[in-house]
């Protein structure tokens, strides 16, 4: 079996929602592999078709890894999203799986344990940076989640507080309430642990 000698390892990173819709999708094209530049996955229709049919196969299966349509696919489902890493068939399964698991771990840290569709969309800047700091155009840049996380900047703190008082306004929507509740439970938990 010929092994992939180039650094181009990952074919795509996808984040799909619980209906197979796109939340995040980045397909990488390797100059060394012609099929990535003019194969079915090089255009939007082909990509969406691939995502839809892949979703059928992996949704709620929790099998971590499958071979699908001549790709090695590893995935992690959590809350209402699936994180998918697609690579070539002859890639090292364990390596790709680690990448996928570590990506999830990085996101867990960055999104403060709330890896769900709404939070991902809310903090899309962090998610995009996180993927970019993990994979650069198909080349694995860093695999250790702690280091990836350290490379992703938080959004600018509202340094210009005076002009941007809006952010201090109480959020009274249902979501705002849930946020406050989870914040409170986290703090209480921490206190309790310290007490013990």
């Amino acid at each position: 079996m010929s092994l992939n000698i180039s650094l181009y390892t990952v074919s795509a990173v996808l984040i799909l929602d619980n209906e197979g819709g796109r939340v995040f999708a980045k397909y990488y094209q390797s100059p060394e592999d012609p099929s990535s530049t003019d194969g079915p996955l090089s255009n939007l229709t082909g990509q969406t078709k691939f995502e839809k049919s892949l979703f059928e196969k992996i949704n709620k299966m929790n099998q971590d890894i499958i071979l699908y349509d001549n790709h090695l696919v590893t995935y992690k489902q959590t809350n209402d999203v699936i994180i998918v890493v697609v690579a070539k068939l002859n890639e090292n399964e364990s390596l790709i799986y680690s990448l996928c698991a570590n990506l999830l771990e990085s996101l867990t840290v960055l999104l403060d344990r709330a890896v769900d569709k709404l939070t991902i969309l809310e903090k899309f800047d962090m998610v995009a940076l996180c993927v970019d700091e993990t994979i650069d155009d198909g080349i694995i840049l860093e695999i250790d989640p702690a280091i990836v996380v350290s490379r992703v900047t938080n959004p600018p703190s509202s340094s210009s507080l005076a002009t941007d008082t809006g952010s201090l306004k109480l959020d009274l929507s249902e979501r705002g309430f849930m946020n406050a509740l989870s914040f409170a439970s986290k703090k209480i938990g921490e206190r309790l642990q310290q007490g013990l």
């Binding site: 992939n4 890894i65 071979l67 800047d125 940076l129 992703v152 938080n154």
Partner: protein, 945 residues
């Protein structure tokens, strides 16, 4: 006002819907050009932009350029978190925008003195911005960045250089020394590197200080700079693996190293002795991905390994197949399955682990475990001593599979069915349980696809199982199945098969009753199939049965459907006139050839003046058809690429197509051979001299290369036999690979060492330009096989003679002065196999016993150290078909019996039973050859092995 505010809201909305593209675009231009810049807002907008891009909403070039331009204004802003996202967006927009070079200066400034946070991002963006003309300006920057003490900066520079390889290889080449230096260096993150996130609260003490990823990137880059220098690569590998505990600390880097070793081995297998110790040291590594990679590479070269080395791999795989990580278990079982294709006996030691894996929660793993076990079972039973155990194993495995079958999806079921069929075909003695299993499965609910695959498997077993009892068992089950089968297609197929096979069984009346039931109860399509099926019974069984069926068929004449009436009328007519051949055909046309001929005929209207001549289409007997199918089947099942099917996508055509191209020549050759033959025949008949020879009897299937494939001239040859007129035509295909030479007056001088072969004429080639291929024909008259002391075996010495002329300028003007030269190429041999085609028969012994003209002899098989090699060699030389699974040799036996059957070009059968024994690295074969054509056996034994 109201729409504006709505859109404004929309741009910031976090609901699941995508924001409107145009409003984001407008908003971006507005905010990015504002002064002072609001960093927080801009970052949000950039995120929105990225969301659109990552959802496939690409901006057209003009808008993209406008965006790019306004984003470049953000380079003024100091906020590092904004700048980081600016770089990412720049990178994403670079592909669709124009005038991207304008940001080069800003980026370079950042790389030189920028903030530590976004410096790596700047370096990585650089490779997207530069083109071939501007890249040299960045050389210094990249050089400095590669040797930077900060690992992430070094990695970024290495990756950037890697991306630049296609456009500026010479510039990147100048970074070789820095890259080499980086591989073995140690770099640490500066302590203030970490961004603190809420998650960590205040505790960041146990964060890693480095991950050594730069070693991986440097190693990846250096390969491309050094790949043509094998010695340098070897030196790199040995220096890095000498004390592998210290030099390469990153698992990915080790994997990359293993892949280089693999590449070197692919070029030169002799290196295994030097490289094996390195690879085996990786079999025990702290990271399972490294262990997997080492196993993968070693399995690719399993034929070079000794038994104890092999056991080491198995040991590692055994360990890996029981770890908690699904992906690792999956990879391990995939590899074990790959070994099972070639050496099922070697993995019998892990069969307990495999049985445990059947209950694995991952269905891909359990399916692979089952198919692998099915293979080992076959191997286990071939040794007579463990035959009993084999039987028990089958029972136990089937029990396990039965319980599993309810839980898994149909795709997996189909994979398992294929594996079972494979096993039953290769080891017919096991059929009973397997057939029963398939029948049970057939009775359960399932879709058409599943049922089709089961019925397909049963049909194949029906065709190829030698045992008459097995046939009846399958047929009876099929009868029961069609009693309530909801799929018309399947019922029709089964009815057809019943008509083919049923009359030959011991009690045809049983099947007739079932078929008649269909005639009463089913729709018109099935009824008409049933009529045809019944008529076959009538014509073949004769006597009372025939009369009764005639009555049944007469009743069908009143059927409500016209197709059924027509068929019934036709059948009754043929029955009355005893036209057996019209109802039951024992030969058929070669459909592939027929199709081609017809298409050719229809393509040109000029052809219509002449009648289509069906006699040109070769006719295949049932026996030959079976051989073809069998060969195809076995070939397909034997392909290791098969493992890809073992997973989810069976129905996927794409996948199948790829497989067949991968498995390529082998699996298709059987069916294509006839087509190719047809092609050759067409080609040859256009040459008047050769057209006189009449019908082409046989051509050698694959061209034989007489030169190395990378020579100045590449020559291959095809042998065409015209047995009826006693001629042999050698077709030399010559390719000129010299870029600046034209060859003229090319001919091949052939000298035979057998006087009975007399050269008749040569058709030379006038001219051959660079990279062109031409053909030279040489014709011989050949001796007849029936004469007592003639010898049909022969060797030809070949020399190519030509006039060489150089091309003097770029317009292709040819130097008028040339010189003539001769070039000796390899010899060509005529072997016994040239006169034989493989033939299938399910009962070898009876065929063998019936053939006259027996010859026996004992020969040593040269150049073969193992029985397995010898079997492969004999099979190819004799060009006969191995039967009864006798081409499978378990690796630790010293004795083997090979049974081969073929058909010679004179129309007779030839069978050989060969006993092989291995002693002290030599293989001795005792041949027993029987043939219909006298003398052929002697020639087979006279051949060199």
């Amino acid at each position: 006002m109201s729409t504006l505010s709505y859109k404004k809201l929309d741009a910031y909305s976090t609901s699941g819907d995508l924001p409107d593209k145009m409003s984001v675009f407008q908003k971006c231009l507005q905010e990015f050009n504002a002064s002072p810049i609001n960093a927080k807002k801009c970052r949000q907008l950039l995120a929105m932009l990225l969301r659109l891009i990552y959802n496939g909403q690409a901006f057209p070039s003009q808008e993209s350029t406008t965006l790019f331009f306004s984003i470049s204004k953000l380079f003024q802003h100091k906020d590092e978190s904004l700048r980081q996202l600016v770089y990412l967006t720049t990178k994403e927009l670079a592909a669709t925008s124009q005038d991207i070079l304008m940001v080069t200066a800003s980026i370079m400034k950042d790389i030189q003195q920028g903030d530590m946070i976004y410096k790596p991002n700047a370096i990585r963006t650089l490779s997207k911005i530069l083109d071939a003309t501007t890249v040299s300006a960045s050389e210094r920057l990249l050089k400095n960045a590669i040797v930077d003490k900060n690992p992430i900066i070094s990695s970024s520079a290495l990756i950037s250089s890697y991306h630049l390889l296609p456009i500026a290889k010479d510039v990147v080449k100048r970074l070789t020394n820095e890259t080499l230096e980086t591989i073995q260096s140690t770099k640490y993150f500066p302590p203030n590197q970490y961004q603190l996130h809420d998650y960590y609260a205040t505790n960041n003490t146990n964060l890693p200080s480095t991950s050594f990823m730069y070693q991986y990137h440097a190693l990846g880059l250096i390969y491309h700079l050094r790949k043509h220098d094998k010695m340098a690569l070897m030196k790199l590998i040995t220096s890095l693996s000498e004390n592998n505990s210290s030099s390469l600390k990153n698992s990915l880097a080790v994997i990359q190293l293993i892949r280089y070793i693999n590449r070197i081995l692919a070029d030169d297998e002799g290196m295994i002795n030097v490289l094996y110790p390195i690879l085996s040291s990786f079999l025990k590594h702290k990271s399972d991905m490294v262990e997997l990679e080492a196993c993968k590479t070693l399995i690719g070269y399993q034929h070079l390994l000794k038994d104890d080395q092999f056991m080491q791999i198995i040991g590692t795989l055994q360990k890996l197949s029981s770890v908690p990580r699904t992906a690792t278990r999956f990879a391990a079982i995939r590899l074990i399955n790959r070994i099972a294709f070639k050496h099922p006996e070697k993995i019998m030691v892990v069969s307990t682990e495999l049985e445990d894996l059947i209950e694995d929660s991952n269905r891909s793993i359990s399916t692979l475990a089952i198919t692998t076990l099915l293979k080992t079972m076959g191997a286990g039973s071939i040794e007579s001593s463990s035959g009993v155990d084999g039987g028990e194993n089958v029972d136990r495995l089937i029990a396990k599979m039965t319980s599993l079958m309810d839980e898994i999806t149909e795709d997996f079921k189909i994979v398992i069915i294929e594996a079972i069929e494979n096993l039953a075909l290769k080891f017919p003695s096991k059929y009973k349980r397997l057939v029963k299993f398939l029948n049970d499965l057939l009775r359960d609910d399932g879709t058409l696809e599943l049922k089709t695959s089961i019925v397909g498997a049963l049909f194949d077993l029906l065709k190829f199982l030698p045992d008459a009892e097995a046939k009846e068992l399958i047929l009876m089950n099929m009868c029961e199945f069609i009693e309530d089968c909801e799929f018309t297609e399947l019922t029709v197929r089964i009815l057809f098969t019943l008509g083919e096979e049923g009359p030959l069984t011991s009690k045809p009346s049983y099947y007739i009753r079932h078929i008649y039931n269909r005639l009463v109860l089913e729709n018109a399509i099935i009824r008409s199939a049933a009529v045809v099926s019944l008529s076959k019974f009538a014509i073949q069984c004769g006597g009372e049965v025939s009369d009764n069926i005639r009555i049944l068929l007469t009743r069908c004449l009143n059927d409500s459907d016209d197709e059924v009436r027509d068929r019934a009328a036709l059948a009754v007519k043929f029955l009355d006139s005893k036209q057996k051949k019209l109802l039951v055909a024992d030969t058929q046309f070669d459909l592939g050839a027929l199709e081609r001929k017809l298409t050719n005929y229809l393509n040109d209207e000029a052809n219509f003046n002449v009648q289509f001549d069906i006699s040109e289409i070769p006719i295949i007997t049932k026996e030959e058809l079976k051989s073809l199918e069998y060969q195809k089947k076995i070939n397909r099942l034997d392909q290791p690429v098969h493992e890809t099917v073992s997973d989810e996508e069976i129905g996927d055509n794409n996948n199948k197509k790829n497989k067949s191209t991968e498995s390529g020549e082998n699996s298709d050759s059987a069916t294509n051979e006839l087509l190719k033959q047809q092609e050759y025949a067409n080609e040859l008949s256009t040459i008047p001299e050769i057209a006189e020879y009449g019908i082409l009897t046989k051509s050698s299937s694959t061209p034989i290369y007489l030169t190395e494939k990378e020579n100045e001239f590449v020559v291959n040859v095809v042998k065409h036999w015209f047995i009826d007129s006693g001629k042999l035509v050698l077709q030399y295909n010559i390719t000129n690979t010299l870029p600046r030479s034209v060859l003229e007056d090319i001919t091949v001088i052939v000298q035979s060492d057998n006087e009975s072969y007399v050269e008749e004429f040569v058709i030379p080639l006038d001219k051959l330009g660079p990279d062109q291929t031409g053909t030279v024909y040489v014709s011989f008259s050949i001796p007849s096989i029936t004469e007592e002391d003639s010898d049909i075996l022969c060797a030809f010495g070949n020399t190519v003679a030509y006039t060489n002329k150089d091309i003097v300028d770029d317009d292709g003007t040819v130097d008028s002065e040339g010189w003539s030269d001769e070039y000796q190429i390899d010899d060509l041999e005529v072997e016994a196999g040239d006169f034989i085609t493989p033939l299938y028969n399910s009962n070898f012994t009876s065929v063998f016993d019936q053939l006259p003209n027996a010859v026996t002899s004992v020969v040593a098989v040269s150049n073969c150290r193992t029985i397995e090699n010898a079997v492969t060699k004999l099979k190819t030389i004799l060009n006969m078909m191995p039967l009864d699974g006798s081409d499978f040799v378990s690796s630790d036996t010293k004795n083997h019996q090979l049974r081969l059957l073929g058909k010679d070009t004179w129309g007779g059968k030839v069978a050989s039973q060969i006993r092989l024994a291995e002693t002290g690295g030599k293989v001795v074969a005792k041949f027993e050859v029987r043939s219909e054509t006298s003398n052929l056996g002697t020639y087979i034994l006279n051949g060199s092995f």
